[in-house]
């Protein structure tokens, strides 16, 4: 589903955020991305969304070489990928419903079909009763769930999350993770960048550990000893 082939990313300032990074993630896999602050987690996710372009190497999503995509083709790529951010990026000038419906409006779904899907997504994250509210009145955890509903409303095959539990307490974080787990259970490839090692360990999934832009760890985190190397 995702393949990085000797990917380096150097920002205009000259800082190399990723260096010669190679890995592969299969379809329907669930992977955690971890590493110290500034290790390059967000940069990696941005390359997949084409929010940034690699300086070297190639990124494949769905067997598609992203280097070959022109800027006009970027929207098509982004429609295949759902994203969730720590600062959830909701619009406070419209209702929860309209926030979640946005990707469908963009894709030109007819309103009836869009309505059905938005309800299904909101139901999935347990917020069906809040569809008419403005997201600004919701709690942090609820806002994050609205963001997740928006990310999955058009049934993407790939779901990316950048620190989705950054501001949440442990119980809420676990709840969010179990949501991701549920999407993964129905075949969605999920990639979550997170600092929360305790939670990651409990999820018992493959972990990519970044350090200074290089891959320092690849595998399931089981023992406390392993965690040290991450």
């Amino acid at each position: 589903m995702i393949r990085f082939d000797q990917v380096s990313k150097r920002y205009p300032g000259g800082h190399e955020a990723l260096s010669r990074l190679s890995f592969e993630i299969d379809r329907a896999e669930m992977v955690f991305l971890t590493g110290h602050s500034g290790a390059g987690k967000s940069t990696l996710l941005k390359l997949i969304m084409l929010m940034e372009r690699p300086s070297q190497g190639q990124v494949f999503v769905n067997n598609q070489n992203l280097n070959r995509l022109t800027s006009r083709q970027i929207p098509q790529l982004r429609r295949q990928v759902g994203v969730v951010f720590q600062n959830h990026q909701l619009l406070f000038d419209r209702s929860v419903y309209d926030n979640v419906a946005l990707p469908l409006v963009i894709e030109g779904y007819n309103p009836a079909e869009a309505g059905r899907r938005v309800r299904a997504a909101l139901d999935k994250v347990g917020l069906l009763s809040k569809e008419k509210q403005n997201p600004i009145v919701l709690s942090g955890g609820e806002q994050q769930r609205v963001g997740i509903a928006r990310a999955v409303v058009n049934k993407p095959k790939l779901l990316l999350a950048d620190e989705p539990t950054g501001n949440l307490d442990p119980a809420l974080s676990a709840e969010i993770m179990s949501l991701f787990q549920q999407f993964n259970d129905v075949g969605v490839t999920v990639m979550v960048a997170s600092h929360d090692l305790a939670l990651i360990r409990r999820m018992n999934k493959r972990v990519l550990g970044l350090a200074n832009g290089e891959l320092a760890h690849d595998g399931v985190l089981q023992h406390a000893a392993n965690a040290e190397t991450v």
Partner: protein, 348 residues
């Protein structure tokens, strides 16, 4: 907030045709080498496309009406800019139609061959008089012309020293009043081909001068219109720039979830369109008010000259043109502003 509530309600419409089709496609099914994935039929897409046009149009109008004073100011600026050249054009139109009332009967002078016999000339005169496109024909013989010249120019002595009369005999024609300019020039051509005729001269210099002045005025109006259209472009461009700036977050999110440039552009283009359209309509209103104010005094003035002249307005076509050009300029201004500023806004 109330607005968006209403919008969401409208989408709660009971599910219809598309539902089952969409549901039949689970997450990862139609993957073809990562190529485009169509989740809905073209008919649904077309409907969705139209729906977005509709909601963009409605939304941008509502945003405008939510800040009525500011919008009204913009509309007024655009209206004044459009009304100025339009007023100038209407004035020119009226002057032209006033000119045409006197323009009806330009005189044509035929200079005849000096060796033509009186009989041949009388013959030609009769033939010309019988034509439909000629009203009257008057004959001035060479001798008469000389006499007239002597008394009017005061150069009689100089002429008398010549032993032959240098002046040719002439025929003075008045064409029918309803002759169009093109017909007149055709008439001139056909007269020039008569054997006796040496030269044809249209005696309407002042009318030509008036036409030249009107033409100049028209060019001035067009130049002014162009200049003011540029102003309108800038005004709308700036307004749209601010509007883009204030919706930056929304643009970033839309781009992030796969909104195309066209999608992002659409509401702003409608905003420009509404500004231009509103400005055009307001310009029409201003112009009509002005004409209404002037029509009384003008009619009174015309009356005192025993004329039934009355002010002409823009007419239906002209009004439509004014509104359409307003809308067009608005749309164009938005398009330019969007092209300049939207590219800067990318998700980071």
């Amino acid at each position: 907030m109330q607005r968006t509530q209403k919008r969401s309600n409208s989408r709660v419409a009971p599910a219809a045709a598309g539902a089952s089709r969409g549901a039949a496609k689970p997450g990862g099914k139609n993957v073809r080498g990562g190529a485009k994935v169509y989740k809905t039929g073209w008919k649904d897409r077309w409907q969705g496309y139209l729906a977005h046009h509709q909601s963009s149009a409605r939304d941008s109008l509502q945003r405008m009406l939510a800040a009525p004073v500011q919008s009204l100011m913009t509309w007024l600026v655009i209206a004044v800019a459009l009304a100025l050249p339009a007023t100038l054009l209407v004035c020119l139109d009226n002057i032209q139609s006033l000119g045409q009332r006197w323009d009806g009967a330009p005189q044509i002078t035929l200079f005849l061959n000096p060796r033509a016999t009186e009989r041949a000339i009388a013959d030609l005169q009769r033939r010309l008089e019988s034509r439909d496109d000629i009203d009257t024909v008057a004959y001035v013989s060479a001798a008469d012309a000389l006499k007239e010249f002597e008394t009017e120019s005061g150069m009689g002595n100089a002429l008398r020293s010549l032993d032959t009369n240098p002046l040719p005999p002439t025929l003075l024609l008045t064409p029918s009043t309803d002759a169009a300019p093109a017909a007149l020039s055709a008439l001139g051509d056909s007269l020039g081909q008569q054997g006796l005729v040496d030269d044809v001269v249209f005696d309407r210099a002042w009318i030509e001068r008036l036409h030249q002045i009107l033409e100049l005025g028209e060019q001035l109006a067009i130049a002014l219109g162009g200049l003011l259209a540029l102003g309108v472009l800038l005004v709308i461009g700036n307004t749209i720039r601010l509007s883009i700036e204030s919706r930056r977050d929304e643009i970033v999110i839309v781009k992030l979830v796969g909104g195309t440039d066209a999608f992002v552009r659409r509401p702003f283009l409608y905003t420009g369109l509404w500004y231009g359209l509103g400005g055009g309509v307001l310009a029409m209103v201003l112009l009509s008010l002005l004409l209404l104010l002037l029509s009384g005094p003008v009619a009174m003035l015309a009356d005192s000259y025993q004329s039934d002249f009355h002010l002409q307005g823009l007419g239906f076509g002209g009004g439509l043109l004014l509104i359409v050009s307003g809308a067009l300029v608005g749309w164009l201004g938005a398009w330019l502003a969007v092209g300049r500023h939207l590219g800067d806004i990318e998700p980071q």
